[in-house]
């Protein structure tokens, strides 16, 4: 085995993108500026994380560190990290070294002071108070609780009132939020609110009524009120020609007179009536009698046709 092949065995295969990425990540991890101190304690699962307003201590609050290396410090909160449930405070710092190639030139030293994460349970909410002599006193709340919500104009959101526990008359107001300053990328308020479009609606036609005649032909053949002969012929179906059988049938029945019905004679009427009278006299059920009445009153269109076709009528008309 030559040295060349032996060397290839340990060489990183640059053409493989997967390996390239892992190697790249490794290098980056080694040379990265260390995080702002590894957070003490375990990481909190995303579903269990709470926002700073839910926790009750937000950026800008004054807090008192009551345990650990910096016990007794009063400091303002720079930020809250929900994933580790820690706070960065302005006073609580630690020293760390920046690797040479990551150090900005403006920095005088490789050793820098940077904020150190403080666990949430090691701080207590504090407040400032001026007495009559102008001396500033700090008050630390042992614990606090939330009361009814109100709309905070500064934060533009609904927030609960924060009071000291067991001393509800002592309210600890939320801190003044940091005001956002306009930079060269921000849009001016009047420009943002300017209405530069118009809502389209079918209530307002896009073409003025007066201009419609320009678009439409009033003399179109489709707008004529009178049909031409050809059009009439196209619209109406032609009369079906008769078959030979039909013609024979019609020729045969040409001379025959149409059948004329005879109205019922008085004798027959009497006969039917007597039978019905016998039957109806035997019925004593009032419901059946009313049903028979309803049947008697029922009418059919064919009856009138039959009467019109009967002999007596035709005699009357002639």
């Amino acid at each position: 085995m030559s040295w060349h092949t032996a060397g290839n065995r340990f060489a990183v295969e640059v053409s493989n993108p997967r390996i390239t990425k892992t190697v790249y990540d490794k290098i980056m991890r080694a040379n990265k500026l260390p995080l702002q101190g590894e957070a003490p304690g375990v990481r909190i699962a995303k579903r269990d994380q709470q926002s700073e307003f839910e926790k009750g201590i937000v950026t800008g609050d004054l807090v008192y560190v009551n345990a650990g290396e910096h016990k007794g410090t009063i400091s303002t909160v720079i930020s809250y990290t929900a994933s580790t449930n820690t706070l960065y405070l302005s006073n609580v710092t630690q020293k760390s070294i920046i690797p040479g190639h990551l150090k900005p030139e403006s920095f005088p030293s490789h050793l820098i002071e940077r904020p150190k994460p403080v666990p949430f349970n090691q701080v207590k909410l504090a407040g400032k108070e001026k007495d009559e002599n102008g001396k500033i006193n700090y008050i630390v709340a042992e614990d606090f609780e939330f009361k009814e919500k109100y709309f905070d104009e500064r934060y533009q959101r609904w927030l609960p009132r924060r009071v000291a526990k067991h001393h509800n008359e002592i309210e600890i107001p939320w801190p003044q939020p940091e005001l956002l300053k306009d930079d060269r990328y921000s849009t001016q308020e009047n420009i943002a609110l300017e209405k530069s479009y118009e809502v389209q609606t079918i209530a307002r036609p896009p073409i003025p009524r007066e201009a419609l005649a320009e678009f439409r032909n009033p003399y179109s053949k489709h707008k004529k009120r009178v049909f031409s002969e050809l059009q009439v012929r196209r619209v109406n179906a032609p009369k079906m020609p008769l078959s030979i059988e039909q013609k024979i049938y019609l020729a045969k029945n040409e001379g025959k007179e149409k059948k004329v019905y005879q109205p019922l004679s008085e004798e027959i009427k009497e006969f039917i009536g007597s039978k019905m009278a016998d039957h109806i006299s035997k019925i004593d059920n009032p419901a059946l009698l009313s049903h028979l009445d309803a049947l008697s009153n029922s009418k059919i269109p064919d009856f009138e046709k039959t009467l019109a076709n009967s002999e007596s009528k035709s005699e009357n008309s002639t």
């Binding site: 009427k269 019905m276 009278a277």
Partner: protein, 156 residues
């Protein structure tokens, strides 16, 4: 409630009146019971009739449904007998003259169930005449019988 015949006739529904104008009631007109030809003056409108010229059958002038309607309405007024003979029966007449299926009248049962009573009868008879049957098959049994009779205890 007693009505005069004129009043009663005024209660005749138009449907029946219309029919009687076209086909007068029975005693005043005759109607064939069987299908006939269309030229027959006594043709029955409820039955199919043949065209003798073309040899084709024409369907009944009044379908089964329409004839049933007419009959049922006429029956309510007690004049169903005046209609021409109908090809089907209604109500009690239909029920009484029905050709019932055997299975509806009496259940068939399994074969052993059908033969069970006869079988018991035969068996009963055989048990009653057991001695004679054994004697016929085995004549020496007669002695045994006589012995048994001699041994039989009596009160005297």
């Amino acid at each position: 409630m007693s009505l005069t015949s004129k009043e009663a006739f005024s209660k005749l529904p138009q449907k029946l009146h219309n029919f009687f104008i076209k086909f007068p009631p029975r005693p005043y007109a005759e109607y064939s019971v069987k299908p006939s030809v269309i030229t027959d003056p006594h043709l029955n409108p409820f039955l199919p009739n043949k065209n003798p010229e073309s040899g084709k059958w024409q369907g009944p002038k009044f379908s089964l449904r329409r004839s049933a309607d007419l009959f049922k309405m006429a029956k309510k007024f007690g004049i169903q007998d005046l209609l021409p003979p109908l090809p089907r029966k209604f109500y009690e007449e239909k029920y009484n003259d029905k050709n019932w299926m055997r299975g509806v009248l009496s259940q068939k049962k399994r074969k052993w169930e059908r033969e069970f009573e006869d079988k018991l009868e035969v068996r009963k008879e055989a048990i009653a005449n057991m001695d004679d049957i054994i004697v016929a098959a085995r004549p020496s049994y007669k002695k045994q019988l006589q012995k048994r009779q001699a041994k039989q205890k009596t009160w005297y």
